[in-house]
Amino acid sequence: MSANDIILDIQDLYKDYQLPRKNIFGKPSYVHAVQGITIQLERGLIYGLVGESGCGKTTLAKMIAGVEMPTRGGIRFDAEHLIKCDTTGRQRENSRRVQLILQDAYAALPPKRTVEQILNEPLEIHGLGNAAERRKKIEATLETVQLPLSVLSRYHHELSAGVTQKINITRALLLDVELILADESISSLDPISRIEIMNLFLKLNAQHNLTIVFIAHDISTVQFLCDKVIVMYLGVCVEYADNPEIFVNSMHPYTQALMNAVPTLEKGLTGEPLYVLEGEVPSPTEMLPGCNFYSRCTHPARDEQCRTRKPALAEKRSGHLVNCFKV
């Protein structure tokens, strides 16, 4: 893999949210939403980012999109520093490269506006083109996402869920970005719209070499869509591998447990040990001394080392990275 291929290089990224103090003399407490993520993304691939609710997927995406400042660590875009922890005001340039499509597509659009007004906003913010040029650009982009021009005169509240999601995608595409982060973009849609949106992402990836990070709870959509998969647990990346590999040869006990939740044919045949997820996710307000998965891990070799020391993401096979001492 040559260095040019890397579109995004995330180094040891942390994010703590400070919680409101109980009283003014109280010690501040923190939610450790992201606890040290190091990962590289290649240009032109579709990534799946999966993990349970609250594991920090959205937080990571917000930091990449530049609207949340990391507590520690750095993000490089094309070998150029996007986010140094102390810089501000670079959000404007950042937004021409990375766009995040928010989880709640409906709430992400401003109320009481027509689609035309909404789609003009990104171009307006960046002062791109005059009225006629903007109109042309919007029409072309609507064609890409396969929406009719008649949608322009519609009001936000008149749109169906699928169209609302497409408007969000259109808005991101208007800025000609290289990377799109789609946060749970299809989980609230009906099956037909789902397929339509998934196909749209595939098309954008193929025709425009757009890099896409697809955030999901749901493994089956990731399986269909993504080239590579990142599995997160409690603020850390536990496993990172290519698409069939990670499903066929999942190595981290957490990933195996997740796969277990999805019935597949192979599992029944191979008779591998079945890991089951039990217990609660530990509270992210405390930093654990050891492996974050320790409390729920059912790996037979789990031991004192797991409890007291932090494993690091390491290459266990070619291109297959796992964050565990015991595999």
């Binding site: 404007r92 937004s95 928010l102 709640d104 992400a108 027509t114 913010i125 021009l149 005169s153 808005r171």
Partner: protein
């Protein structure tokens, strides 16, 4: 191409029509229409006071002093519709000229109240914690002092001129609107569409201009109208108790003050300007209610 053309023309018509439609709906409301007409008449009367007034407001006529209004006693005459005061000055003419001062002070103090209130509220809602804390502490202090106390203190320091009274009324009224605007903005900034705008690279200023200004102004419109009436009352009160407008300037309040010693034998000196104030404030409150009804539909 043809269908695109029609689409974009329909689009632009819709956009320009909306403010007009709101205004049309307002004037279709009978209460609003009548109240607005009454106010327009009063304002026109004030504007054209020099042309309409039968007397100079300062012209004394000792023989005609304390003439009652028309239909209230034998001394009444068509020369003095609303009677005269203790110096024989024509009340009607004095009211016409007094209205000018009262309306002017109310107008500009309302501008100050909402200008500062909305500006400060937007600032403290949009920009970080430090600005917010400073501003909110200031408004806390000011809100804990009654307007009358502030006015008395300030007017003891600054000589009571039209300008200083306007400023005093203006700066004593803004904190509550700064608060209201701020809480509006804070409620809105938590929403995803603001985050989406930031993801698109929008500055705080852009967000403010695009999403907040119009809404905030519209949602305070009904209060602007009410506050206008309130400022007329406050000016009258300050002038009535002698710390407001000073002679030879005339306002509704000073005319009422002139009648203070004659309340029993010459009730009209105080009552008639008071009636004007009542008509103005009632009309304004009707208008305010119509605005609330129309905008919320």
């Amino acid at each position: 191409m043809g269908s695109q053309m029609t689409e974009s023309t329909i689009q632009s018509r819709q956009q320009t029509q909306r403010p007009f439609q709101t205004a049309r709906a307002l004037f279709r409301d009978k209460t609003f229409l009548i109240s607005a007409l009454v106010l327009v008449l009063i304002v026109l009367a004030a504007v054209f006071a020099p042309l309409i007034a039968s007397h100079s407001p300062d012209q004394m006529d000792i023989r005609a002093r304390l003439t009652p209004p028309l239909f209230f006693g034998q001394k009444a005459s068509f020369d003095h519709l609303f009677g005269t005061d203790s110096l024989g000055r024509d009340i009607a003419s004095r009211i016409l000229f007094g209205l000018r001062t009262s309306i002017m002070i109310a107008f500009f103090s309302v501008m100050i109240i909402f200008g500062i209130g909305i500006f400060v509220g937007l600032l403290s809602g949009i920009y970080g914690k430090t600005v917010d804390t400073i501003i909110m502490t200031m408004t806390d202090i000011q809100l804990s002092l009654p307007l009358l106390v502030i006015a008395v203190i300030l007017l003891a320091v600054a000589p009571p001129t039209i300008l200083s009274i306007t400023v005093v009324l203006g700066i004593s009224g803004w904190p509550i609107y700064a608060r209201a605007t701020r809480s509006n903005v804070l409620r809105e900034t938590k929403k995803d569409y603001i985050l989406a705008a930031r993801i698109m690279g929008a500055s705080s200023f852009w967000v403010l201009k695009k999403y907040f200004l119009k809404n905030v102004v519209l949602s305070t419109l009904s209060f602007v109208v009410l506050e206008f009436g309130l400022m007329i009352v406050w000016e009258a009160l300050l002038s009535f108790i002698g710390i407001g407008i000073q002679p030879p300037n005339i306002s509704l309040g000073t005319i009422m003050g002139d009648g203070l010693n004659y309340l029993i034998n010459a009730w009209w000196i105080t009552t008639i300007p008071g009636l004007f104030i009542t008509v103005i404030t009632i009309s304004l409150s009707f208008m305010s209610r119509s605005i609330v009804r129309t905008l919320s539909v």
